[in-house]
């Protein structure tokens, strides 16, 4: 089984230096791209590979790039940004790539920048990733030194600057347009679309934002071709995927696996099954803003389409396992507390709706819930649906709630009828 993204990652030893990375074949893809391919050809091979964005929305990456205006008429500087904000609760896959092999990310970014003819690029890294920040700084210096960054890269006449930007908190910074505002030194509220960032992005200039994992796939696609990349997958989405599992399983962790393995394989083979004494009740397959799947979904394929067909989203592919010793109401309350807290405060439904949801859940959890509360919760799952809010934060927040109301409704009702939490485990706030 090929593991292109993580083959050189071993967290027990230091990450590759530039030299080690080159020895392992690193930066060959960049050389190939810059010397043998036109920017449009790079876009095309990525589009053909059917690489879908790993940030959660699953949009075809090459297609996304193709909206960037090219040629002499295009406005410059153009920007390319790696979204390394990774703040989706339950998500820890980009950390692996960042700490494990920063040069891979940098190479992927340079190739992507070449494909859209970007001039300046940023790695938007979340504040907490101190180790990654250190490694990236070092790797950037090496890449500049080696001439992979800076003016006239590999004699192509094209140049690229790359900077590391570390955040100061706020989940919203991961939303790609809010991220742009944060980079501009503003409040991280999202922007209206259209115009899309590809046309009017950072500082009003054409901009592409992709997830770290997305970029890490790029060198391999360029080196080995679109067909090879598609061949890695067990489904129609191209490539491998970093899947992860957290919660009370035997071996929580993250693994690079073919796109489209089943949930059962992931949970039982890789995560080792549930920890002793615990039963699986549900999982959020791709971070906090995805719908619950339950034991009945064990055999679905973990790719964008199949998970969607099962009523959830692949999201970030890092799943959170809810066991039978955890109160579903408390679980969902914890999530809604997070989302309400992280709402940027720009649009009404999210700013006012989420705190209401959170308060209701807490009161149910404390045994103070009322019958009609469940209706108000359901109402919110509809009212905060796609398109109703300004960005996808609130919509994402409703996913675990609506599915919890579907799969764990009796648990909610028991809280209300028994006027206490059967697990007696509400948060200490």
């Amino acid at each position: 089984m090929e593991r292109p993204l993580t083959q050189h990652i071993d967290l027990r030893r230091p990450a590759f230096t530039l030299k080690e990375y080159e020895q392992a074949g690193g930066y060959a893809a960049l050389k190939k791209a810059v010397k043998e391919l036109t920017p449009k050809e790079v876009q095309q091979v990525v589009q053909d590979s059917n690489l879908k964005g790993r940030g959660g929305a699953g949009f075809n990456t090459g297609l996304k790039w193709s909206f960037v205006p090219m040629g002499d008429e295009a406005r410059h500087p153009k920007y390319l940004i790696a979204n390394a904000d990774e703040m989706e609760p339950g998500t820890f896959k980009d950390r692996l790539l960042l700490e494990g092999n920063p040069h891979q990310l940098i190479e992927g970014m340079i190739i992507a920048a070449y494909a859209i003819q970007a001039d300046i690029s940023y790695i938007f890294l979340r504040w907490a990733y101190k180790k990654a920040a250190h490694l990236i700084r070092k790797a950037l210096a090496e890449a500049y030194e080696a001439g992979y960054l800076g003016e006239n890269i590999l004699g192509s006449g094209w140049g690229l600057q790359m900077h590391l930007h570390t955040g100061v908190g706020r989940y919203m910074c991961g939303e790609e347009t809010a991220l742009l505002n944060a980079l501009e030194g503003k409040r991280a509220t999202p922007r209206s679309k259209p115009p899309f960032p590809q046309v009017s992005g950072l500082f009003g200039k054409p901009t592409v934002v992709n997830n770290v994992e997305t970029f890490c796939c790029i060198p391999h696609i360029v080196s080995n071709g679109a067909e090879w990349f598609k061949g890695l997958s067990k489904s129609e989405d191209g490539g491998t995927k970093i899947y992860g599992v957290s919660g009370k399983v035997k071996r929580p962790g993250a693994w690079e696996l073919p796109m489209g393995i089943t949930m059962r394989e992931l949970l039982e083979e890789h995560a080792g099954g549930m920890a002793n004494g615990y039963q699986l009740r549900g999982v959020l397959p791709g971070g906090a803003s995805t719908d619950f799947l339950t034991t009945e979904h064990m055999d679905i394929k973990l790719d964008f389409k199949s998970v969607a067909a099962a009523g959830s989203r692949l999201g970030t592919g890092t799943m959170i396992v809810m066991d039978d010793a955890t109160c579903p109401v408390g679980f969902v309350h914890n999530l809604q507390h997070f989302f309400a807290q992280e709402s940027c405060g720009w649009c009404t439904p999210c700013r006012e709706g989420l705190p209401w949801v959170e308060k209701i859940l807490l009161s149910i959890e404390k045994g103070e819930g009322r019958e009609e509360d469940l209706d108000i919760l359901s109402l919110h799952t509809k009212m905060l649906g796609p398109g109703n809010t300004y960005c996808a934060l609130a919509t994402g927040a409703m996913e675990p709630l609506q599915s919890a109301l579907k799969y764990f409704r009796e648990d909610f009702e028991r809280h209300i009828h028994e006027k206490s939490c059967p697990w007696n485990g509400h948060e200490h706030r």
């Binding site: 990774e86 609760p89 907490a128 101190k130 570390t166 908190g169 030194g185 919660g247 959020l284 200490h428």
Partner: protein, 154 residues
Amino acid sequence: MLTQEEINAIDHEVKLLPHKKAAVIEALKIVQKERGWVSDASISEVAEYLDMSPAEVDSVATFYNLIFRKQVGRHVILLCDSISCYVMKYQEIYVALQQKLQIQFGETTTDQRFTLLPNACLGCCDHAPALMIDDDLYTDVTIEQLDELLKKYS
């Protein structure tokens, strides 16, 4: 007054950007790094240096939860309260910390040693529960380890 080091660091950031204002978050980070937190006076100083008004700077500063607009202790404990840590019972760690430090979330010990804050997911959910003290990350934290951990920070 901004110190020369702060000014140098801010100037460096400004140089990378198309206009001065865009460096405001960087400037706040720089000031916080030097001073531990961002006081009203610091806001005004940054504002003046970047040709902004204090309101403009504070508007940005108060948006981000890791810009501290109130004085914090010498060490800041960020305890992850997000979902994987919830499943792995961060609450018990919190109770233990409350007892040991006699403070709740958002508070600072009377000796100014620690400030305890909740923090959204630290990105190490496979090793929950997790917490950070200053720049150091601790994973798979148990109540038993806490004393040992806290001892490192005076």
